[in-house]
Amino acid sequence: MEIDLAGAVIALDGETNSIVDAVTAALRANGGHIVEGAPTPATDILLVSCPLRPGTKTGDPRSLYADARKAAVAMTERGGRIVFLISAIAGMPMRRHPRFSMENASILAGMRALAMEFGPKILVNAVGFGVVEDDAIVSGDRAMLSHTPVGRAGSVEEAVAAVLFFCDPLNSYTTGQMLGVDGGWAAGYGRNF
């Protein structure tokens, strides 16, 4: 897919991983300009990259929210987009990962609150990743695959597409939403009954 970012200034907050690397490469290829450092009033799009593998420390969702809100205040005059990269577990807790479930659910609630506070100037959305792998697991837990109707992990390329969708200037009425990229993992009992 192609989108037209027309020189949009893009900032990144949070961890790097192979999804983020591929996202920034795709944003550049579609006309975006990635800048180092904290978001400024010149920032058009902020990517908030959260840890995607259970067991890795997400950090305090309250400070993550505070940082994103500070960026939103800076971006308000020009308007823009904030896209959170989180785990699909935000909408479907897993027994084996209580802390990771809580942290992601908290980030999701904060994302929605930002969408309400900063609309209509800033659109705020999240992509919730299920199992994504390249050479190794990038997102999620392999156990999720037993409930994934399409029966396979997602690719980095498939993960990137949803982020581009939320950055697309033509996608202009979607805010406060998490779009799962999980092969149907969160849709219901996809196992064997």
């Binding site: 897919m1 609150a113 969408a115 969708f165 009425y173 406060g176 092969g183």
Partner: protein, 259 residues
């Protein structure tokens, strides 16, 4: 976004209407052959005439024979069907009343089109998709009222909530066969119907439009093209790991309470 749908055939129901015609155009502009399906034959022909590679198709989604005949015509013309957009739907304009006063015949009309029709259409469209064994996409057009209930339109609310959950059911049934099912839940969209309710000067609830829009972070209704953009993404090759999702395209209406 731009994508390559040049080898795909898409069928859009309710495609003579505002949202349906916008969806048909976005798919067509990205290369798909589009079946413009509607109970309004002349409307379908008018929309199809404005597209690059399209056929008009008169059908009544409540009628299995009508739908089967339409799918047969599509297969005759194109030999395949890759994308189904279940967009056709109705709501009530005259009967904005609570459930105890809601006329049974109007309940049946609305649920018969919005829910039963979606089942009848999907069942028929799945036949060529499954037979070809190449997967496919189904995009159901639900509504925010299927996620957050609203008053004075109980059959529409019930049918759209059913579509939300049916989407998930279809996703877990069909995902292993390569057919991905998702839904868009539009918020308020500027159409001829909503003009009669909210956005026209003589709309039924015209005096309360700003009060209503105060619940929507973007503070305005959607244009049909903004709904179509999300449908295009879910129908595109890029969305190949998205299944069972219900994406609200609602200006943030269902993000939370604006209080």
């Amino acid at each position: 976004m731009r994508c390559d749908l040049s080898d795909r055939v898409a069928l859009v129901t309710g495609a003579a209407g505002a949202i349906g015609s916008a969806i048909a155009k976005r798919l067509s502009d990205n290369g798909a052959a589009v079946v413009v399906a509607d109970i309004d034959k002349e409307g379908a022909e008018r929309v199809a005439a404005g597209l690059r590679n399209a056929m008009a198709c008169a059908l009544d989604i409540r009628d299995g024979q009508s739908v089967d005949a339409a799918i047969a015509r599509v297969c005759d013309r194109y030999g395949r069907l890759d994308i189904l957009v279940n967009n056709a739907g109705v709501n009530t304009l005259a009967h904005r009343v609570t459930i105890d006063e809601f006329p049974p015949e109007e309940w049946d009309r609305i649920t018969g089109i919005d829910l039963d029709g979606l089942y009848i259409m999907s069942r028929a469209a799945l036949a060529p998709m499954l037979a070809a064994g190449k997967g496919g996409r189904i995009v159901n057009i639900a509504s925010v009222v299927g996620l957050a209930a609203m008053r004075l339109q109980s059959p529409f609310v019930a049918a759209k909530a059913a579509i939300v959950h049916l989407t998930r059911s279809m996703a877990i049934e069909l995902g292993a066969k390569g057919i991905l099912t998702n839904a868009i839940a539009p918020g308020s969209v500027l159409t001829a119907l909503t003009a009669k309710l909210f956005y026209g000067d003589d709309g039924k609830f015209a005096g309360r439009t700003q009060e209503f829009l105060a619940h929507v972070p973007l503070g305005r209704p959607a244009q049909p093209e903004e709904i179509a953009e999300a449908v295009l993404f879910l129908a595109s090759p890029a969305a190949s790991y998205i299944n069972g999702q219900v994406l609200a395209v609602d200006g943030g209406w269902t993000a939370g309470y604006m209080m």
